[in-house]
Amino acid sequence: MSRPDVLVDADWVEAHLGEPGIVLVEVDEDTSAYDKGHIPSAVKIDWKKDLQDPVRRDFVDKTGFEALLSERGIGNDDTVVLYGGNNNWFAAYAYWYFKLYGHHKVQLLDGGRKKWELDSRELTRDVPDRARTSYTAAEQDSSLRALRDEVLAAVGKRNLVDVRSPDEFTGRLLAPAHLPQEQAQRAGHIPTARNVPWSKAANEDGTFKSDDDLRTLYAAEAGLDFGKDTIAYCRIGERSAHTWFVLHELLDLANVKNYDGSWTEYGSLVGVPIELGEGR
């Protein structure tokens, strides 16, 4: 994949609004953002209600994903353009999720909702009426997702990229600073992980930095060995989906996985090694 295959800009989206075969999808955790105004013709997906199993800590299963996309009027042949708030964290998570279930014609709107808003582009409250489809998903592609045993086995062997802020990495904060710091799990990071905050890959308006800047960031500055397999993690797996997108989709590195269990799982495991402080 290359940048034009996976990323579209706001001008492109404006020029293709309402075009058959292209479905705009806003993905947020707090869907009140969509309800207060969204890009014309966009449908919404709720990161928590629609994409997470209501009982187990896991994704909705294949049948559930098929039901969701069918209900939203998304067909197997549609090109899905995802965007959202929080600098596209949840849209990047949904991108990874769509890939996991085998939907290949998917792109991110560079800069997401923030860039669109800062450009003062049109937002509407009109909800589109899309005809129901009969969507068929593939089985989950396990080459994109890391589970905890694989992460433990990767300590000291693969690239582990902790994409949280430096204050979360060192243990000063337990959550991003827009949330109360009430979490009970241990602070710190997975030993041997390098801290490359997701935000370093993005410009202030939420767009991604250039490929050259990204290569410099991860290889020259953070010391990632591009010849090794890589696992990215954060707190719950959406910021690390943003970094997964950068490494796997923009920089085209092979064997990059997102660990969606992330620190809420790892930092609550009994008996696993934890490193505090700056790391390496």
């Binding site: 707090d30 928590k48 708030g85 600098n87 964290w89 204050d167 600073a177 827009h178 905050p197 809420t264």
Partner: protein, 102 residues
Amino acid sequence: MSADGCGAPAGGVPVPATAAGDQAVVEGRVVHDGAPVAAGYARLLGTGDEFVAEVPLGGDGGFRFFAAPGSWTLRVLAPGGLRAERTVVAGYGQVTKVDVTV
């Protein structure tokens, strides 16, 4: 908001009245020409301009962060190229108020 969510709601997560409890709260409102800026973003930066968090402004131009004790930079971005920056000092059990005019 809880461990199963990580998003930043517009205006930030509410706290009861102005009770900070054991949190180091930084909050305020953004105004332009005397009116609240509802479409914009507040971001909190740490040492060396390191990004820490960002929230979309609430309908009243409000924002709120849960920081740690120490000095932080608050930066506001809004449509039309409006931006402003303030230095804030937070402490546990305190609500540090920062009102910003852009």
